[in-house]
Amino acid sequence: MVSTTAPTVSPPVEAARGLPRWLRLVRAWPLLPMLILVPLILVALCADVIAPYDPIQPVPGAKIYAPPFWMPGGSMHALLGTDFQGRDILSRLLFGARVSLIVGVMGTLVAGSLGAALGILAGYLGGWVDQVIMRVTDAWLALPALVFAIFLATMLGPSMWNIIIILGLVYWTRYARVIRGEVLSLREREFVKLAEIAGARRWRVIRRHILPNVLNTTMILASLTIGVVIIAEASLSFLGVGVPPPQPAWGSMLAEARSTLMAGKWWLTVWPGLCILLVVLATQLFGDWLRVRLDPQLRNL
C-alpha cells in the first residue's frame, strides 16, 4: 500500500482572527439605547436629589423667560432657562422624566398584560371565545386611539394613575392580535399536543406551555410600544387632559410654551421636545435590538 499524504499531528485549533475581545463584548450590547435610557432612569429615580430647584416653585432671584446660560441674558443659576413662571426648566425636565417613564412603562404593562391575556384566550380556546374577543378587538381598533383616550380622560378625570389605565385600555389591541397569531401556531406544535395527550387541563397547558413561549414576543412588542405610549401621554398632557399641572410633564411643558415659540423663546419647547424624541428613539432601538437577539423569526415584525 502506498501512503498518499504525509502523516500529520493534529494541527492546533486555528487562531481566531478578527475583533479583539472587548470590542466583541461591546458590540453585543445595545449601546445607543442604553446610553440614553440608563441615565434617564437614574435621573428619574434621583430627581429629588439631582434637580437644582423645586420644579413647581419659581427660582428665587431669576427672571421669567430667562434663556439658557450660554445666551445673553442667561445665567448659571438656571442652566437651561426658565419658563413663564420663572421655574427652572432643567428641574422640570428631570421631574418630567419620572412622569414619562412611569406612565410609559406602567401603561405598557397594563396594555401588554390585558392584550396578551385576551390574545392567549382567543388563540387557545378558539370557538366563540375567539370570535367574541376578535370582534371586540376589531371594534376597539376602529376607534381613533387618541380621541378615545381624550374621551376617557375627560370622563375619568386627570391624574397619573387614570392616565396609565386609560393608555392601557387604548393600546391593548395590538398585543391581542399578534399574540393570538402566535398562540394559533403554538397550539399546533407537537409539545403542546403531547401535553394535551398526557391529559393536561387547558389551564395547565396555557400556564406551562403557551405563556412562556409568547413572553418573547410580548417583550419585544412592549419595548416597541413604550415609545408610542410615551408620545400618547405627551399628547394628552399637551391637550390638557394628561397629568395635571403644576406637576411637570414634558407634554404639558410643550403645551404651556406653545404660544411663545414664535416669540423666539425656543428653549421652552425644544428641551422637552428633545427629551421626548430621545426617549422614544431609545426605546425603539432597544426594541429592535431585543427583537434581533431574541427571535430571528420575528425580524419582519
Binding site: V2, T4, T8, V9, A16, G18, L19
Partner: protein
C-alpha cells in the same frame, strides 16, 4: 480513459462571526468519477457531503470558500473559474437535483417554462425545436401525456412527478454529471423505487455520471458503483461498492453497515455509541476515535493518513495502517 471528474484534496471552510470562527467543512477530500459511473457519497448530517457538492458547482453560501485543492472537470480546474464561467458550466455540464421538489420548482411558472429554460440558455433552442425537446425530456422521465402536462403548474402534480420534473430540468442542458442530493428522502417507498429505476435507465441511455448524496446505504447498494464515506469533513473510506459492502476496512463503514436493519432478520443492530461530531469542536487525532470500537492510543493524537489499496480503494485509519509492515504485492501509486 481519464476520469470525467477528479477532485484532489478539496478543502472548504466556513468563516463566521465576522471571520473569527473558521470551520473546516471539507478537509482534504479526493475522489474521481468516470462517465457512466455512479458515486455514492455517504455520511450523516454535518459530515460535509452537501458542502462538497456545493463546492463542485460553485454554489457555496457567502460565508464559505474553497481554500485548497483542485476540481478537475473535463480537464479544467473549476476552483479557478470565475463565477460567470461557472454559471455556464452549471446547467449545461453539471446539473443538480435537490431534496425538496416543491422548493426546486417555481410555483408561478408552468412546467414547460421551467424545463425549457436550460435548453433555451445552454443549447440555444427556440420555438418548435424547444417544444420538441421539452416533450422529449418529459418522456425520458416517464411523465405520461407530456404535450398536455407541460402546460400544468407544479402544484397540480404529486411529489413523485415533481421530482421527475426536477430530473427533466437537470437533463435539459445535456449534462455530463448530475449531482443528486438526497432526492428521494421525501418520497414514498414505491415512488422512490420507480425514481431510482428511472435514474438508472437514464444513465444507461445517456452515459451521464451521477454523484448520489445520501445517508441511506440501501440506495447505495441499489444504485452506485463506487462508495465514498465521509465523516467530519474527511473521506474515511472509498472504493468499489462491492468491496466496501463485503469487507469494509474502516470501523465507521463497518459500523454503518452493521447498524442497518436487514429485511427479514431480527439480528440485533450494532448501535454506534456517542453523537456525530460538531465540526467546530472536533476531537484531536482521528475524529471518529471517541466512537470507535477499535480505537488505539495513536488515534487520539495523530490524524490517520490516507492509504491506498489497489487502484480505487482508499482508507484513513490507523487500524489498517501498519507502516512498519511489508507493503502488499505490486500496489500502484
Amino acid at each position: 480513459m481519464p476520469p470525467l471528474l477528479q477532485v484532489s484534496d478539496l478543502q472548504t471552510s466556513f468563516f463566521t462571526f465576522g471571520g473569527t470562527r473558521v470551520v473546516k467543512a471539507v478537509d482534504g477530500v479526493s475522489f474521481s468519477l468516470h462517465a457512466g459511473e455512479t458515486l455514492g457519497l455517504v455520511g450523516e448530517s454535518g459530515c460535509g457531503k452537501t458542502t462538497t457538492c456545493l463546492s463542485l458547482v460553485g454554489l457555496l453560501p457567502p460565508a464559505a470558500r474553497i481554500v485548497g485543492g483542485r476540481i478537475d472537470f473535463v480537464g479544467e480546474d473549476l476552483t479557478q473559474k470565475p463565477p460567470g464561467e461557472m454559471r455556464h458550466i452549471r446547467g449545461r455540464d453539471i446539473a443538480m437535483i435537490l431534496q425538496d421538489p416543491m422548493a426546486s420548482l417555481n410555483p408561478l411558472f408552468s412546467i414547460y417554462t421551467q424545463v425549457a429554460e436550460p435548453a433555451y440558455y445552454h443549447q440555444g433552442l427556440r420555438g418548435r425545436s424547444l417544444r420538441q425537446r421539452v416533450q422529449e425530456l418529459l418522456r425520458a422521465v416517464r411523465i405520461p401525456s407530456p404535450e398536455l402536462r407541460m402546460r400544468d403548474y407544479p402544484h397540480q402534480m404529486s411529489g413523485g412527478m415533481r421530482q421527475r420534473i426536477v430530473g427533466a430540468i437537470a437533463l435539459a442542458g445535456g449534462p455530463k454529471l448530475i449531482i443528486a442530493d438526497e432526492p428521494t428522502t421525501n418520497l414514498d417507498v414505491t415512488i422512490q423505487a420507480q425514481y431510482l429505476d428511472l435514474l438508472k435507465d437514464i444513465q444507461q441511455e445517456t452515459g451521464v455520471a451521477i454523484i448520489f448524496v445520501t445517508h441511506n446505504l440501501g440506495i447505495v447498494a441499489r444504485m452506485c458503483d463506487k462508495l465514498a464515506v465521509m465523516y467530519a469533513g474527511k473521506l474515511v473510506e472509498q472504493g468499489a461498492v462491492r468491496d466496501l459492502f463485503n469487507a469494509p476496512k474502516h470501523p465507521y463503514t463497518k459500523a454503518l453497515l452493521g447498524s442497518i436493519p436487514k429485511l427479514g432478520s431480527k439480528e440485533p443492530l450494532y448501535a454506534i455509541p456517542g453523537q456525530p461530531p460538531n465540526l467546530a469542536n472536533l476531537p484531536a487525532g482521528c475524529a471518529f476515535h471517541p466512537r470507535c470500537a477499535y480505537a488505539m492510543p495513536r488515534c487520539t493524537t495523530h490524524e490517520p493518513r490516507e492509504l491506498r489499496f489497489g487502484t480505487d480503494w482508499t482508507v484513513r485509519c490507523w487500524l489498517v495502517d501498519q507502516a512498519d509492515k511489508e507493503p502488499y504485492g505490486s500496489a500502484t501509486a
